[in-house]
């Protein structure tokens, strides 16, 4: 086997995933998914009840971490009142999107692979087809629509939770800056477009994670072992893609203009 075979297989797989994703996105945009709107709402409910608290828990802890890092770093350079600078950028631009991506990949993405994969190997997907129900719409497009309905709100609340956690760490725990001083700097270093960019980053990650999960679940084969393998593969690919999206998002949204009120 030529050494080129491995990257060629990767490319072929990525092409397959892209084609599958295109079909699922097309089914949502064409409105055909609304025939199963009830199922989409059910999936949305599952996302809210099953994943929101976990995501918010993680963003709270990482918000604390951003605050602590910001407080100690700004203290070390003799400017403790600037702790809000680090917290603002850390929370909004990087850590919350990544935390959201990680938890989505670990909880939602793997859950989708396991559920659809189990349905595939137990003939439930075939049963849907035989009953005249398009399983790609019923299983995949509904999950994508559910993600688009619920996740922006879960993400926004996650950002709020991270902000609160950073405030608690900088002002209440370390306590070297007043609440007013902290918020003055904290809000100076972010504005509404930053929030929109951050949401775009998070939603791009969520969309990719749901689509990758659907692909690996839908194409699972080889019994329970095959479903396990598909779940592991989806996790690996999702973590890589989360970082690629995170990096590209930072580069595109803040690379040319960091939007920092520094130096005039």
């Amino acid at each position: 086997m030529s050494w080129l075979a491995i990257p060629r297989d990767w490319l072929a797989s990525l092409g397959e995933i892209a084609r599958f994703s295109g079909r699922v996105v097309g089914l949502v945009y064409s409105g055909r998914v609304f025939r199963f709107f009830g199922e989409a709402l059910r999936q949305a409910g599952i996302l809210i009840l099953g994943s929101a608290m976990v995501i918010w828990g993680l963003t709270f802890i990482l918000g604390l971490q951003c605050g602590i890092e910001g407080a100690y770093f700004s203290r070390s350079v003799g400017a403790p009142s600037n702790a809000g600078t680090f917290a603002a950028w850390c929370d909004l631009r990087e850590v919350i999107p990544y935390a959201f991506g990680y938890m989505m990949a670990a909880k939602v993405g793997t859950g989708i692979v396991a559920e659809i994969g189990a349905m595939r190997i137990s003939d439930e997907v075939d049963a849907l087809e035989v009953m005249g129900v398009n399983p790609m719409i019923f299983l995949c497009a509904t999950r994508l629509l559910a993600a688009w309905i619920t996740l922006p709100f879960i993400y926004l609340v996650g950002i709020g939770v991270g902000f609160i956690a950073s405030y608690l760490a900088v002002v209440e725990q370390v306590g070297e800056v007043s609440a007013g001083g902290y918020f003055l700097i904290f809000w100076m270093f972010q504005n509404p477009p930053d929030l929109i960019f951050s949401v775009i980053k998070g939603m791009s990650m969520a969309t990719v994670i749901v689509l990758v999960g659907c692909y690996y679940g839908y194409t699972a084969s080889g019994g329970p072992v095959g479903v396990g393998t598909a779940t592991a593969k989806s996790m690996v690919l999702n973590i890589v893609l989360v970082h690629v999206i995170g990096m590209m998002g930072t580069l595109v949204f803040w690379g040319a203009n960091p939007r920092a009120p520094v130096g005039g």
């Binding site: 189990a118 349905m119 003939d123 439930e124 075939d126 087809e129 035989v130 009953m131 005249g132």
Partner: protein, 332 residues
């Protein structure tokens, strides 16, 4: 003297021939039938563009040195006196190098319970998937009520499938729904009936299969037999004109198999339509089959009314339908 020697040689040849004929008869007697030893016909590729046997593909059950793999396949289709709901025409289906169907021809009659019998691994379940359009043949055609399944668009296929009911081996119930919702699912998706009307139909079907008290249970709370019956109720809920049963007897004890067969028979008598059962269980065949097709090596050996097939003088059919150990079918 020379003449005498010639006569002796001639006599010897006659004796050898007679002995050979006796051997053939003895073999035929061994396999339980003295009337037929089919003419050997060299194997010919049905679709030359799809490769050569043992070079580009293999057929399960066909040895690499076998030159006449279809010597038992008379392809006889005995008249069943009705019309075919499903026609399989020269279907070839291959997975990798493994050719599962190799020029399969069979008609499944309407308004009868048909049974597709054959040894394990001969592609019986694959055939159901081909008929319902879950798989596509590499060549050949499949007609359902005269319409070609492989030529249908996705939307046409989904529309056509509304006339199908399929009972999968393990029921294939949706794990996230209880039995009531599983049974109601096709009605909710494909009809504008109110919940009250849906409830009536679902309860009627669940009552028929004896699962009224289990309506609120989840699939994982049911036994294998109950899951099959629930799958049966779901398969029937849209009053399909064609119902497939993929090994309904697998994993069931003999009594429950008999009860399930009785249920299939009763519901067919009530609703009519084309029922196609896939199995290798002879008891099931004797209980419910009106029509039998015997599949082996990717082709139909013979098909016809069950009374005709059980009396067939084809050695393979006879061996298989009488579960005999001596005959064309061996362990390998």
């Amino acid at each position: 003297m020379a003449t005498t020697k010639k006569t002796l040689v001639h006599d010897q040849e006659a004796e050898d021939q007679a002995a050979a004929e006796t051997d053939v008869e003895a073999f035929a007697d061994d396999v339980g039938n003295s009337s037929t030893l089919p003419e050997a016909e060299p194997y010919q590729e049905l679709v030359p563009g799809l490769g050569k046997l043992n070079q580009d593909y293999i057929i399960p059950g066909v040895d690499s040195d076998e030159t006449e793999p279809y010597r038992w396949h008379t392809g006889t289709k005995r008249d069943h006196g009705g019309e075919d709901a499903i026609e399989i025409i020269d279907v070839v289906k291959q997975f990798g190098r493994m050719r599962i169907q190799n020029g399969l021809n069979v008609g499944i009659p309407d308004d009868m319970i048909s049974m597709l019998l054959g040894p394990s691994g001969t592609g019986k379940s694959v055939l159901i998937k081909l008929i319902v359009g879950l798989l596509y043949p590499d060549s050949g055609d499949i007609l359902v009520h005269g319409e070609s399944v492989p030529d249908m668009t996705d939307d046409e296929l989904f529309e056509m499938r509304k006339k199908f009911g399929l009972l999968f081996q393990d029921g294939a119930l949706f794990g996230s729904m209880n039995i009531y919702d599983n049974t109601a699912f096709p009605l909710r998706q494909h009809t504008d009936k109110s919940e009250e009307e849906i409830g009536e139909t679902v309860n009627k079907r669940l009552n028929e299969v004896g699962l009224t008290t289990a309506a609120e249970k989840m699939p994982n709370e049911l036994s294998g037999g109950m899951r099959k019956r629930a799958g049966f109720a779901r398969a029937l809920v849209l009053d399909p004109s064609i119902v497939f049963f993929d090994e309904p007897d697998s994993g069931l004890d003999p009594v429950r198999t008999a009860l399930l067969c009785e249920l299939i028979r009763e519901i067919h008598e009530e609703n009519g339509g084309c029922y196609m059962v896939i199995s290798h269980d002879l008891g099931t065949a004797r209980r419910i089959a009106d029509f039998i097709a015997v599949l082996w090596k990717g082709r139909i050996v013979e098909s016809g009314l069950s009374s005709d097939l059980f009396g067939s003088d084809n050695e393979f059919v006879s061996q298989f339908l009488n579960a005999e150990t001596i005959g064309p079918l061996a362990m390998d």
